[in-house]
């Protein structure tokens, strides 16, 4: 991780509120919360310089458990509220917490426009592929055919892949983790906060009550090494229990190979470049689904682009300087007026 040399004077406990955490025992949100507290401590931004803003849903309860400025708002609107907050008070570090329903269904419009504008906020998208708070309806990330209370015969629609939606909206940062991958989650969150612009961290997270085990086939200890790959910028794309497997280019596609077999050597394995402006490879990596190719976790894309809130500030500085009005009255008097004696 970058900036490790800067010692934070804060510990995770400084970011914990005194509220008792009310998620179900075994819920993946507990792990995400702990990782967030740790990431905040690593970053060293003081609690009073940090805001956590959420919508509605199980995961959106998160602000109550952080000893920062917090706002638990209304369903789907966290990205819009966080945008206004950041533009108004750019000194604050802003975290937005949403679930797959809150962020991608009712809040889908705000999600894509926040990414398009590249507002400097960090979006944690907790994806459990289900509506938990309303007790078990399918969500926009539930797979086709998924049986739930609102789809008793299976859904007849395809899901979003959050990364694909984010790239379509021209996201400058996308990372993914699993709720059980504490180190990776923490690393992704810290990187998201350091990224200037809108960052999305998707955490594949378990709902122990309504969709228990939905991610187990990739997150179980026995499968995880083979079905996921931890991408780190500048490092070879290796995975497997002993990092014996790697990703290679095969025409325009990616291919998983075993190093030393079929003539593939370590030199053939791709090196991850999260900073590449072209998102072609990032898309391919993000769309790997665990079947033929492992699910990518870690920071997949992290590129620089103009930041909305900074551009607003810069424009205000420029225009104010060129006009030079010191008050409303001065501005009005510079226009068409007449005097009545």
């Amino acid at each position: 991780m970058e900036n490790k040399d800067i010692r934070s004077k804060y510990s995770p406990a400084d970011y914990k509120s005194d509220q008792s955490v009310r998620w179900c025992p075994g819920c993946g949100d507990h792990a995400v919360l702990n990782c967030l507290h740790k990431a905040m401590a690593t970053l060293g931004v003081p609690p009073h310089r940090t805001a956590v803003i959420s919508g509605i849903g199980c995961s959106s309860r998160l602000p109550y458990y952080c000893n920062t400025y917090g706002f638990h708002t209304i369903h789907g609107r966290a990205a819009a509220i966080a945008t206004g907050f950041k533009v108004a008070n750019p000194e604050m570090t802003v975290w937005q917490i949403s679930g797959d329903g809150d962020g991608l269904a009712i809040g889908g419009n705000h999600f894509i426009h926040c990414l398009r504008r590249n507002v400097d906020i960090n979006i944690l998208l907790l994806n459990n592929k289900i509506y938990g708070l309303t007790k078990g309806q399918y969500s926009p990330t539930s797979p086709r055919g998924f049986v739930s209370k609102s789809s008793p015969y299976g859904t007849t629609e395809d899901p979003f892949v959050p990364a694909e939606l984010a790239f379509g909206a021209r996201a400058t940062f996308f990372a993914r983790s699993l709720d059980v991958e504490l180190q990776v989650s923490q690393e992704c969150m810290a990187a998201a906060a350091r990224h200037k612009g809108a960052s999305v961290v998707e955490v594949l997270q378990n709902c122990v009550i309504f969709n228990n085990g939905t991610h187990n086939w990739i997150s179980d200890k026995e499968n995880r090494a083979d079905r996921t790959i931890h991408l780190v910028h500048g490092q070879k794309m290796l995975f497997g229990n002993n990092l014996e497997k790697g990703l290679v280019q095969d025409g325009f596609q990616l291919k998983a190979v075993t190093v030393g077999e079929e003539g593939y050597t370590l030199d053939d394995v791709l090196t991850h470049d999260a900073h590449s402006v072209s998102d072609m490879l990032h898309r391919q990596l993000a769309l790997m689904d665990g079947h033929d190719l492992p699910v990518a976790i870690g920071v997949i894309r992290d590129v620089d682009a103009p930041v909305y809130n900074e551009e607003v500030e810069a424009q205000i500085t420029d225009v104010s300087a060129s006009k030079g009005y010191d008050s409303l009255r001065a501005m009005i008097l510079a226009g068409e007026t007449w005097t009545v004696e």
């Binding site: 009073h48 602000p63 706002f71 708002t73 533009v87 108004a88 705000h110 607003v312 225009v319 501005m331």
Partner: protein
């Protein structure tokens, strides 16, 4: 013919410019307005333009109008016009009914050819006769020919020449009312200064129109308009939407809170977004969001962050913002919501005026969700009431809905530019530094006003969490306790009610001992209702008059005022929303109603007739 050349002295005159929506009627009208204001007249305007940006040329649906009243005691753009400018046959057909008995029509006869008449659905070749216009002086002016002739040596192409026709008509009207061409030329220079050829052409055509008026002098009775005695000072022309935007900026200066606008384009409110977007030069952060909901939500985020936060919209947008406003109610955050009302329901009449969002503003949210509601009464009052809405929002930590409307939002008046010290300082209840001790709870309140403190994010020792879930009245933690909820509902209601202690008393005009009837209006109908009351009193029918600007809560002396009258006539541009609201709060008051729901302002004459009918 000599009697026609005499100069009449009128208190005020009304001119209506009408033509195809591409004919530049708004520009001609605006320049005439500014020129008149510049010579010291009071002015009041009413742009009446079609919903379509460009309906088929020459068609009835494509007619655009701009009416202006200039002179003394001008409160409205006038019911009927003294002079009607009609740039084509369709404009004549659509607008002749606005002309007063004996008024003047200036008609471009070049635009009344066979094809023009056909497009305007005339069946004969004489539009004036076909429309039954008898008691008018019709000036058939070859505007198109004269404009082309004036520009014969300009080197302009035909299309560019045709764009100057409106200025020919303007020149003629300037001559009619003895307006100095210099100030009209100055405005043209401001508009076309970067295109000298276009400016030269317009200047030439303006003079040609003026000279034409002079040459046909014998045919019209000209009028000179008296100057009004007005407060000395520096003036500018301002429309209601601009005044609203500027009032918000003044409130930002007076409160020290930066101004944030989250908005989405919607007729007829968009000019507020336009103006505040320009005002990055004053540090205003106006952002165009992806939808109405994002508009209000970004403002709520900015409010939580410590700004004077505003969202601007019209009726359909207010409906979309309802849930967001409820969040600001329960989080007790300051928020100004501007609704420039238009005709409804649904998309309704987007460019027309109405007062039909009153109930939506008062009650259009889930749960018990009270907010303050105020309504400006004129274009210039938009400045004062936008300031007031901001003051109430910031000092009482509540959403405030400002009910403007299309009529005053688009209408303009001369406005004396105020000094900053004419407005009070605004004191938001910022958390005192010594209270930022990590032991503060966000729902601790001032015992008198019930207002909670505002801790600006970034303040050390004051971190806290807000949210849409009900909170414990003391600790601010989530609470589902039944008694606590009832307590919080009552506190939020009482907090709004106590704003009545912080607003001016209601004033009554024409409050003579003989008046046993009170005419009561609210918001943008002030000009017409005040004129009706003034005329009735002058004609020997005593009637008191009051116009409401503070809707919720109402001023504390309302009950005492209403008690004094045998009956209260509530006149409004809906089916009786304010009358119902008033009756609910004051069940013993005898209320009569005057209602109009046509997308148009009242006419003074119809209000007077209705009042006489009621008082019979």
């Amino acid at each position: 013919m000599t009697d026609n050349t005499s100069v009449k002295t009128l208190d005020k005159v009304v001119v209506r410019f009408s033509g195809d929506s591409g004919d530049g009627m708004q520009l001609a009208g605006n320049i005439f307005t500014n020129v008149s204001a510049g010579v010291g007249n009071q002015v009041s305007t009413f742009p009446d333009y079609p919903a379509e940006i460009r309906a088929p040329q020459g068609s009835l649906s494509g007619v655009s109008g701009f009416q202006v009243s200039v002179g003394r005691e001008v409160y409205t753009p006038g019911d009927q016009c003294d002079v009607l400018v009609a740039m084509n046959a369709a404009a004549l057909k659509q607008n002749h009914r606005f002309l007063r008995h004996g008024g003047v029509i200036i008609l471009d006869i070049d635009s009344c050819k066979e094809s023009d008449l056909k497009k305007a659905l005339f069946t004969t070749d004489n539009p004036v006769e076909e429309l039954g216009i008898r008691h008018a002086q019709v000036l058939e002016v070859p505007v198109t020919t004269m404009t082309k002739a004036a520009l014969a040596e300009s080197g302009l192409d035909l299309k560019s020449m045709m764009k100057c026709r409106n200025i020919f008509a303007l020149g003629l009207v300037c001559w009619l009312f003895d307006r100095p061409l210099e100030s009209a030329l100055r405005m043209l220079r401001n508009k076309f200064g970067r295109k000298p050829a276009i400016y030269d052409a317009n200047a030439k055509v303006l003079r040609a129109g003026y000279d034409y008026g002079h040459n046909i002098h014998a045919g019209v009775s000209t009028c000179r308009i008296e100057n009004d005695k007005i407060t000395p000072g520096v003036y500018t022309d301002i429309n209601g939407n601009t005044a609203t935007a500027w009032g918000l900026i003044m409130a930002s200066e007076k409160s020290g809170r930066p101004l944030f606008l989250g908005s989405y384009p919607i007729t007829p409110a968009t000019d507020i977004l336009h103006e505040l977007a320009k005002r990055r030069d004053l540090g205003v952060k106006a952002v165009q969001m992806e939808d109405e909901i994002a508009g209000v939500c970004s403002a709520i985020g900015a409010s939580f962050a410590g700004n004077l936060a505003v969202t601007s919209t019209s009726g359909p947008g207010l409906a979309l913002k309802s849930e967001g406003i409820g969040l600001a109610v329960i989080a007790e955050l300051p928020l100004v919501v501007i609704d420039v009302m238009r005709g409804g329901p649904s998309t309704g009449l987007p460019t027309k005026t109405e007062q039909t969002d009153l109930m939506q503003a008062l009650y259009g949210r889930n749960g018990e969700s009270p907010v303050a509601v105020v309504a400006p009464i004129s274009p210039t009052d938009c400045f004062d009431m936008a300031f007031e809405a901001s003051r109430i929002a910031l000092e009482h930590m509540t959403p405030v809905i400002l009910l403007s409307d299309a009529f005053i939002g688009n209408g303009s008046s001369a406005w004396r530019i105020p000094e900053a010290n004419e407005y009070p300082e605004i004191h938001p209840p910022l958390l005192p530094a010594e209270r930022a001790d990590n032991n503060w709870h966000p729902y601790e309140r001032n015992a008198d006003t019930l207002v909670r403190y505002w801790a600006i994010p970034g303040t050390e020792g004051a971190t806290h969490r807000l949210g849409g879930l009900e909170k414990d009245s003391k600790t601010g933690a989530i609470s589902t306790d039944p008694v606590n909820h009832e307590n919080m509902v009552r506190i939020r209601r009482e907090k709004i009610a106590r704003i009545a202690n912080d607003i001016p008393a209601q004033e009554v005009h024409y409050d003579t001992p003989e008046a046993d009837t009170l005419l009561l209006g609210w918001g943008g109908t002030y000009g017409h209702l005040r004129t009706a009351a003034a005329e009735l009193n002058a004609e020997g029918t005593p009637i008191a008059f009051t116009q409401m600007r503070y809707i919720n809560p109402m001023p504390a002396n309302m009950g005492e005022i209403l008690k004094r009258y045998k009956r209260v006539i509530v006149a409004e541009l809906n089916t009786g929303m304010f009358a119902d609201y008033l009756q609910m709060q004051f069940p013993d008051v005898h209320i009569e109603r005057i209602n109009k729901i046509q997308g148009q302002p009242f006419l003074v004459s119809e209000v007077k007739n209705s009042i006489k009918e009621i008082m019979k």
